[in-house]
């Protein structure tokens, strides 16, 4: 079985696992136990990991709040910032900041918290993207008002890998006094991402997309240069600067730190390698398959992502036929409902359903890419030959 679904999750790197293991049974202390060596060892390890995660994104250590993952980080940033600004007066000193702005291609972990806030009375603007999957900055500028509390734009999309103009978007938000959050889950460790250079206020991260363990993530919360705040979602002990109470997942956090350090060290070489493999896959598919389109911009894109649609075949039958390649499909999970991201690009429902997402990762080889390209081409040809639209 060939694994080409690295946007969904990645295997834990052996070096990461090795770093984590002592913290289960040997150095099992509670990082909040300040009275003895077990607690100190755990606390030291957590702070070392915090530094490693911070360095990956150009942040200060104290800016990093550990969470259970990116969904929690997104919820904390969006609901937390909204609550922090509730009732706050605008620069004009009149109406409250009761407006939020986001983008239609965001992950559900951003859209659903926004939806909940909308139900609670917040005014939420969800901006469209163009056919390449990119946010229109003029439209963003037009949407942000003196009432806007927070703008949330993902750094790179989980389905089509399209990288948004985060620096420009953040500047537009700040120009009207809004705070800026980005879901940086897919981009962190894959492309350079620096919270200072981009001037973002909140950024969500997760370990399992960068060869770390599942169940641990982080929210970057700016402490310098702009007074931003979030109201905690989870209370009970005041851990993590009071933003996220609960005993810290020490082995997970240690693994996250090690994963971040490795990702940073290997980023330039790994990004170039993934980009070359992506090109090899695209060339291999295009050589044998007509009626194939790439979904989303190829230029502004994560190096390891390819998302393509095929004309004239059923997406579910395609996925079922790919018995030895683990990829994600526009038809996966929710059989009849096409991907909201692909529909946002203007694809027809059929095209959106007949799509495949390839996620190339650290362990992917050229042989695997060649096999996948040949297999997908064969299956597409077989399904088309089976179609009543094709004679003979």
């Amino acid at each position: 079985m060939i694994y080409l679904d690295h946007h969904a999750t990645t295997p834990v790197d052996a070096r990461v696992l090795e770093a984590m293991l002592p913290f289960f049974s040997e150095k099992f202390g509670n990082a909040a136990s300040r009275q003895h060596a077990f607690g100190w060892a755990a606390s030291d390890a957590v702070e070392r990991a915090r530094k490693q995660v911070a360095v990956l994104i150009g942040a200060g250590s104290k800016d990093v709040i550990f969470t259970s993952g990116a969904t929690e980080a997104n919820n904390l940033a969006i609901k937390g910032a909204a609550k922090a600004r509730q009732g706050a007066s605008t620069s004009a000193g009149t109406a409250a900041r009761n407006h939020l702005v986001t983008v239609t291609t965001e992950h559900q972990a951003v859209l659903d918290p926004m939806l909940r806030l909308a139900r609670e009375g917040w005014d939420v603007t969800v901006l469209p993207v163009n056919a390449a999957g990119l946010l229109d900055l003029a439209a963003l500028e037009g949407a942000i008002t003196a009432r806007t509390a927070l703008v949330s734009v993902m750094a790179a999309n989980n389905e089509i890998g399209v990288v948004q103009p985060i620096k420009d978007a953040a500047a537009l938000a700040h120009a009207k006094g809004a705070w800026f959050h980005t879901d940086a889950v897919q981009v962190a460790g894959k492309l350079p991402f620096d919270v200072e250079a981009l001037d973002v206020d909140f950024a969500s991260l997760t370990a399992h997309k960068m060869y770390g363990p599942k169940g641990v993530g982080a929210l970057y919360v700016r402490r310098k240069g702009r007074a931003v705040a979030a109201v905690a979602e989870i209370d009970g002990g005041g851990h993590e600067r009071g933003l996220r109470s609960g005993t810290l997942n020490v082995p997970g956090i240690v693994g996250f730190g090690r994963a971040a350090a490795i990702a940073r060290d290997e980023l330039p070489a790994e990004a170039a390698r993934a980009r070359a493999l992506r090109q090899r896959l695209l060339d291999g598919l295009a050589a044998k398959t007509e009626g194939m389109t790439v979904n989303g911009s190829l230029d502004a894109r994560l190096p390891g992502n390819l998302n393509v649609s095929f004309a004239g075949i059923d997406g579910e039958a395609l996925l079922v036929s790919l018995d030895d390649i683990a990829v994600s499909s526009g038809a996966a999970c929710t059989a009849a409902e096409p991907s909201h991201v692909l529909m946002a690009l203007g694809l027809s429902k059929d095209r959106a359903l007949a799509s495949l997402r390839f996620g190339i990762g650290r362990t992917t080889t050229a042989d695997e890419i060649d096999y996948a390209a040949a297999k997908v081409s064969d299956v597409v040809a077989r399904l088309r030959q089976m179609s009543p639209l094709q004679s003979a």
């Binding site: 075949i313 579910e316 039958a317 079922v320 790919l322 059989a335 009543p388 639209l389």
Partner: protein, 129 residues
């Protein structure tokens, strides 16, 4: 991979399909069709009838795995089957054999409708001569 939603027979019929194609027009040959592309499923069955039995059957299908497997199963059942037996083909038999989920029963109905249509069409073609 959505394998868990399908029986082994559905998977093998999709991955290694048999009897794909359209029989060329000729004596005793008839075709039946059911479904529409607009609704995401289109099944076409063609048969060649000789005297009182189906001697050859082929299918074409656009749609999900269940549709492909249903069309393939129906084509297999029809081949070498006496017409009196073929008339007794029901969607329930397809659903039972392939262990289709209730929400996929419609494609079994389409496969059977296309098959019965093909036999009727073959009979018409024969009687017109």
């Amino acid at each position: 991979m959505p394998d868990g939603r399908y029986s082994a027979e559905v998977l093998s019929r999709v991955r290694e399909p048999q009897r794909v194609g359209t029989l060329p027009a000729g004596p005793g040959v008839g075709a039946g069709e059911s479904g529409t592309l607009a609704h995401g499923t289109l099944i076409r069955i063609s048969v060649r009838v000789d005297k009182d039995r189906v001697v050859e059957a082929r299918f074409k299908a656009f749609g999900c795995s269940a549709a492909i497997a249903s069309a393939s199963l129906v084509a297999e059942w029809l081949e070498h089957t006496p017409l009196v037996e073929a008339a007794g083909l029901t969607p329930e038999r397809v659903v039972q054999r392939l262990h289709l989920a209730p929400e996929r029963e419609d494609v079994a109905r389409m496969a059977v409708a296309a098959a019965l249509g093909a036999i009727a069409n073959a009979a018409e073609a024969t009687s017109e001569k």
